[in-house]
């Protein structure tokens, strides 16, 4: 297995705040930065992401709880171990780029952005409230948000354009996009997949949150996606399947990118919608929920109990 740095062009800046393999990785944490974290810290961080998501769910319009919770572990690993970022300089030229193509999971993104110090933790309380920069889908120019999203199916084209540009200009960064599985029904995803596969953009990673549900129910009942791995491979991608809630496994997968040199990598992360809160797990209704104080308490109790197990 190659390490993340092995796959980065030789021009990568030495002072990355992102992951470095093994001991170096732990040592690379610059003073004052919220990350990168050690592997052992991830469980706490992911738990906190879930708690923050639930809190945002108490805002008047609620939030997309199910898809935020299914993405929580993926985002935790990406933001605390994988992405080379400088929270104090979001436009750092050598950074990795992240696009939340499934923009409705914004609550989970805001949580990791706050953990990494891109935004203030206090700002999370403004989620979806009048005047807030934290909308139901990420807005342009929130520090750490590269592109506003919310209309499904845009993110992979954007990330492909970034990856292609970085490649052509000889820059170090990589581009990551996180997609929903229902989102894969958008043809624009396959246009992007085709182009990226053709250009062999191995600095591009699509992570699919394969929670098996979309709004109207099971993806396979609605408009089926299987055999999903075949689809991606036939479009020129390398695929890796991983348990999207196994932090160490995710860390390992992301540390060994690209999976196949010369190809973009699709990380098919098996997840559970609503993961971490028994009340919501695997439930279609978890898609968008407004949590009353009582529901919030029940959800938190479930979350904590789940964790204690």
């Amino acid at each position: 297995m190659t390490t993340a740095l092995d796959t980065a062009p030789a021009t990568a800046a030495p002072d990355v705040t992102g992951p470095v393999d093994g001991a170096a990785r732990e040592a690379a944490v610059p003073p004052g930065a919220a990350g990168p974290a050690g592997l052992a810290d991830l469980a706490d961080l992911a738990h906190e992401v879930r708690e923050l998501v639930l809190r945002m769910g108490t805002s008047p319009h609620g939030t997309h709880v199910g898809g935020s919770l299914s993405s929580a572990d993926i985002l935790t690993v990406l933001y605390h171990r994988v992405l080379r970022l400088r929270p104090e300089d979001p436009a750092w030229a050598e950074r990795d780029w992240f696009v939340l193509s499934k923009g409705h999971a914004s609550a989970a993104l805001y949580a990791v952005l706050a953990q990494r110090g891109f935004i203030d933790r206090a700002e999370l309380d403004t989620y979806s409230r009048p005047g807030s920069r934290l909308a139901g889908h990420p807005l342009r120019r929130l520090p750490g948000v590269e592109f506003p999203t919310g209309s499904l199916g845009h993110g992979l084209s954007l990330a492909s354009g970034v990856a292609l540009a970085l490649r052509r200009t000889g820059r170090a960064g990589r581009a990551f996009a996180l997609l929903g599985d229902g989102e894969l029904q958008e043809g624009s995803v396959w246009e992007a997949a085709m182009t990226a596969g053709h250009y062999g953009l191995d600095n591009l990673v699509a992570v699919v949150d394969r929670n098996g549900l979309q709004i109207t129910g099971s993806t396979e009942d609605c408009v089926g996606l299987e055999p999903l791995g075949e689809r991606w491979r036939s479009f020129g991608w390398a695929t890796v399947e991983v348990d999207g809630h196994d932090l160490a496994a995710l860390d390992e997968v992301f540390a060994s990118l690209p999976h196949t040199p010369g190809r973009p990598t699709a990380v098919l992360a098996r997840t559970v919608k609503g993961r971490g809160v028994p009340l919501f797990e695997g439930k279609k209704k978890s898609h968008s929920v407004q949590l009353s104080p009582r529901l919030f308490q029940r959800a938190m109790t479930g979350l904590n109990a789940r964790r204690a197990r």
């Binding site: 005047g131 920069r133 909308a135 139901g136 506003p148 499904l152 229902g182 408009v223």
Partner: protein, 333 residues
């Protein structure tokens, strides 16, 4: 995707006056119920879904043979619906307004409108009704776009009551329909039964000093508020509910241009290209007059707010209407 907790009007009836005032009703809920009724009566009526949520149970469970879900694929939604309509069916295609008008724009134009097929494109989340969802879910350019489509009938009901009327009035339309609905409950503006006439502006308040032409729930209810305030200032404002954007009621616009000092248009849409543009086009042809267009500026919002607050912030408010109307009647200087 949560529905309001209050009961909407039973189909065909006009809801009880007291709770009308208090709560408002989501047009979307009334629409859905009406659709199920149409479909029960006419097997040609199909519900074509694109993972909107709600239709799969409300409609799909009762009438599975008339329900089709194409998944999250709006362009395909239009093409599939056009194909179905060509065989003689009456597909009601469902998505969010911005996704119909922009994501699926070419399929809507070429396959649905260009072929003059009886596809009913029923959209929700129009205007700023999904305010807290951010600009990808704001549909403030949809009227400008669908107004260019050949053969298209474009209807924007002002409330839940008018929604039901509009759905029934267009049930047998031989060509395509774009029915523009919001998201959450909005104030009811119609409090008694009336005859909905497709293509004919509805006179909500008579007046001869100035005319307010509004389309959509908040714009119409704000125009009514402005009417009251203007009356208090001694200004008699005619209020037209322009529920049909295409074909536009030219006569009503020209009468307003000739009989009153000017027109204030009010829409939950850009000030460019929509109702205001359509009215300006008509008056400058035959009866030039001042038209003050009240609508949304063409910039993406960089923060959230609810529908009414965002509208007010963008410049769509009773106060702005009042000021605009007053200045048309009594120009400064």
């Amino acid at each position: 995707m949560t529905t309001p907790t209050i009961e909407a009007a039973p189909p065909g009836t006009v809801p009880e006056p007291d709770w009308q005032e208090r709560y408002g009703v989501a047009s979307r809920d009334v629409y859905r119920r009406t659709l199920v009724e149409l479909a029960r009566e006419d097997p040609r009526v199909f519900c074509v879904d694109s993972d909107m949520g709600g239709l799969e149970t409300l409609f799909g469970e009762e009438l599975p043979a008339q329900y089709v879900n194409v998944g999250i694929a709006e362009a395909n939604l239009m093409g599939v619906s056009a194909g179905m309509a060509a065989t003689g069916l009456l597909p009601y295609a469902h998505t969010i307004s911005g996704f119909a008008a922009t994501r699926a724009c070419e399929q809507l134009k070429v396959d649905v409108a260009g072929n003059d097929l009886p596809v009913r494109v029923v959209v929700t989340h129009a205007g700023l009704s999904a305010g807290h969802y951010g600009p990808t879910h704001h549909a403030v350019d949809d009227l400008a776009i669908v107004r260019t489509l050949p053969n298209m009938t474009v209807v924007v009901p002002a409330d839940a009551v008018e929604t039901e009327y509009a759905v029934r009035a267009t049930a047998d339309l031989p060509g395509p329909l774009f029915l523009r609905l919001g998201r959450a409950a909005t104030p009811l503006v119609h409090h008694e039964p009336y005859e909905f006439r497709l293509g004919e502006a509805r006179l909500l308040r008579a007046g001869d000093d100035v005319t307010l032409v509004a389309t959509g729930p908040y714009p119409v209810s704000m125009a009514l508020e402005a009417h009251e305030a203007l009356a208090g200032m001694g200004i008699s404002a005619r209020v037209l509910n322009m529920h049909t954007i295409k074909p536009l009621d030219r006569d009503a616009v020209l009468r307003a241009a000739r009989e009153t000092a000017g027109i204030v248009t009010v829409e939950d849409h850009l000030v460019a290209g929509g109702l205001g543009a359509a009215v300006a086009e008509v008056v400058t042809e035959e009866a030039p007059c001042r038209v003050h267009r009240i609508g949304v500026p063409d910039r993406f919002f960089d923060h959230v707010a609810d529908e009414r607050e965002l509208l007010v912030e963008a410049g769509v408010s009773p106060e702005r209407i009042i000021r605009a109307a007053a200045s048309l009647v009594r120009p400064a200087g």
